[in-house]
Symmetry: C2
Subunit: 410 residues, 2 copies
């Protein structure tokens, strides 16, 4: 038998890779990297207001004074000093945890991946808001979970819909494994899960033996600084809480964390060690040093005001330029505006025209696993400048107005 | 039914986690982190000779001049400038590749994890040298591969043994998926796969439809700078080549890479994006800037000499203190000395006594999946100082000599 290289590599693929559906959205994010592109696509913070001179001094001091530690392997769990800061941050959301209960990860994306790897068997059902974070769903799908969407309203995911979905999954003989939720300034919906519903949703999960994957990168980014209590404190035994420094401070450091139930802690620690050995030490020291100075909180406040202003300018622009019948919600924080355009306008088709004209967004279809979202889109407003928001918004208006004039569904 | 939290989390575990055997070696590595411990355990470079002032200046300059890029999300593939350096490094081993064929990862550990995730189905057989890198085998085991060891001699893994093992696996009806090999200064054996055998081993793999996982963190760390040609150039269509900056430069940056077969490239890129989004940008810029200055090669030469001296002092010490019948190989580079003690001395049992006395190594059992290795141990000689090598070696001598006097197997 003649064995060719292609037959070897094709035959060798794991089932979990074969099962994965190729995602069109990667093309969009790659387009967003082109120079000069106005990007409403990236869920990226604006970094221009960071104190780069102070960070430069810190970085230089760390390398000069503690280089052999900063550039060496470190503890898989993460640096104690950084974990103490994480504990303080979580306390702002009502979470009581010790530094030894936290695992620092290479961004919260890695933490999500650990959770899916530790807990998901092929065919397990993970419930997620409709719509939900594409990158989170991709993690679960990557371990062959079936994602089932739960409708949201203005108060977040609807508890009765979750109950109905659990019952339907059970009736079909499948395993309802857990709920993946982004309770604050949800990605991409921009809504908050109301405080009353947090408890109700947790009770439904507990009563049905579901785990809760509480993904909270945006919780401290309310425009007015309002912080809602996390789900975790009432359900610590079934909740994995995921935190991130990427939206609050700087994604280029790739640092996040997970607070798992005590019964799963060792699995998280050991699995993180197997996949990464340890999170980057130098980055942890730099971040920890940044958090040592209380000035970082004033800086966060500055970003909140800036993001509110960008949000307002985006909404003002869209009001002037988008075709009649276009709707959006009014988030009170976070990064995202969720836009619904008139029926028949296909945001997935139009994104290429927009890219050609120098502006990019994420089509709504990226946030569903069931084919929905063709007349929806996500606009991230934190990264572009005010001028880019006005310019990019005007281009969106022209493209979508022209599409509407062609008759939409007609 | 009353559902308790523990019953939920226990029932929820994925099969791949249930299948994993708990590893005793984690305790050893945690002991190695205790202050004052003389560690022969960590496969860690000595960093004291790095140009920390120059690195500090670079880090400060990067943050001051390009902070908003360094601290932002970046390309999943890694920075082009760093990938160009990687291409140059690989050329030293005879590898011809373009920068667009490489994916930068958070250490080569993450790259190994990607490979296993993309390619391993439960029950697939991965062949590995006997003994082999514990952390590499843990990655494959973590996706429920069965590891099958291939004996080595002074020229590395024995091709005929690989052929026999493939035949036996096939006869048992299992899938022979690939060979995981560390051809240079092998971890933990310290041996090189001979140039003749590289081709022979590759031919066996191709003829039998096996993939090659070529893990090469140590290739440029020969004491005299001799660099052997990689396996990849003759078998680019079936080889995943893994490189790392952790042993050559600094593990605290967590940067490595993978060069996969062209047919698998998109899978590696997309899976890395799903698990990490992107490797840390700031770290890539700092490393790339370090590699821009040819002085780094002189620094590498300095390390080679230093490591040779440490190796020699370790061997001289062991010659004086270890009980009769103790044997070791004489590596020509890398990080590791592989030691065989007289039958009946159990290195796994004695490591705790050594830890109590302030010195730690890795018992041989960590490097096999089949229970072997009780009378073997790995000594890493790069991290400890010459004085620590003498002190720690003396303690090893006392503990092992006492154990031998008690009669070993008797």
């Amino acid at each position: 038998m003649q064995v060719t290289a292609e037959s070897i590599t094709d035959a060798a693929l794991a089932d979990r890779v074969r099962a994965a559906r190729p995602s069109e959205v990667r093309k969009v994010f790659r387009a967003a990297q082109r120079p000069g592109m106005i990007s409403f696509a990236n869920g990226a913070p604006y970094l221009g207001a960071l104190p780069f001179d102070a960070l430069a001094s810190s970085a230089a001091r760390i390398l000069a004074e503690a280089g052999p530690v900063a550039l060496q392997y470190g503890a898989s769990q993460g640096l104690p000093a950084l974990r103490e800061h994480i504990v303080s941050l979580m306390a702002l959301e009502g979470i009581t945890a010790g530094a030894d209960e936290v695992v620092v990860t290479a961004g919260s994306q890695q933490a999500l991946d650990l959770a899916a790897r530790i807990l998901v068997n092929p065919g397990d059902v993970i419930f997620a808001e409709a719509p939900s974070y594409a990158g989170g769903m991709a993690v679960f799908s990557g371990y062959e979970a079936d994602l089932v969407h739960i409708p949201m309203d203005a108060d977040g995911l609807v508890p009765e819909e979750l109950e109905n979905a659990i019952a339907a999954v059970r009736a079909s003989g499948r395993t309802a494994k857990g709920l993946y939720t982004i309770p604050n300034f949800q990605n991409p919906g921009g809504v908050n899960l109301s405080v009353e519903r947090r408890r109700r949703v947790g009770e439904i999960c507990r009563a049905n033996g579901l785990l809760i994957f509480e993904d909270n990168p945006y919780g401290l980014l309310g425009f007015d600084g309002t912080t809602l209590p996390a789900i975790q404190p009432d359900f610590p035994d079934i909740t994995m809480y995921f935190g991130s420094f990427s939206k609050m401070i700087a994604p280029g450091l790739r640092l996040g964390w997970v607070l798992p139930p005590a019964s799963l802690y060792t699995h998280f620690l050991n699995t993180s060690e197997t996949t990464l050995l340890n999170p980057p030490v130098f980055n942890q020291m730099l971040l920890s040093s940044y958090l040592d100075d209380p000035a970082w909180e004033a800086k966060l406040d500055e970003y909140r005001s800036l993001y509110r202003e960008k949000f307002q300018v985006l909404v003002e622009t869209l009001e002037q330029v988008m075709p009649e019948g276009t709707r959006w919600n009014l988030p009170t924080g976070g990064f995202y505006l969720w836009v619904t355009v008139p029926d028949g306008i296909d945001t997935e088709a139009l994104v290429h025209e927009c890219i050609d004209r120098g502006v990019v967004y994420v089509p709504g279809t990226a946030f569903y696993t069931n084919g929905r979202g063709h007349n929806e889109l996500r606009l991230s407003f934190c990264l572009p400048t005010l001028e880019q928001i006005r310019q990019g918004g005007a281009i969106l208006g022209e493209v979508f107005t022209a599409a509407a004039a062609k008759g939409g569904r007609a």
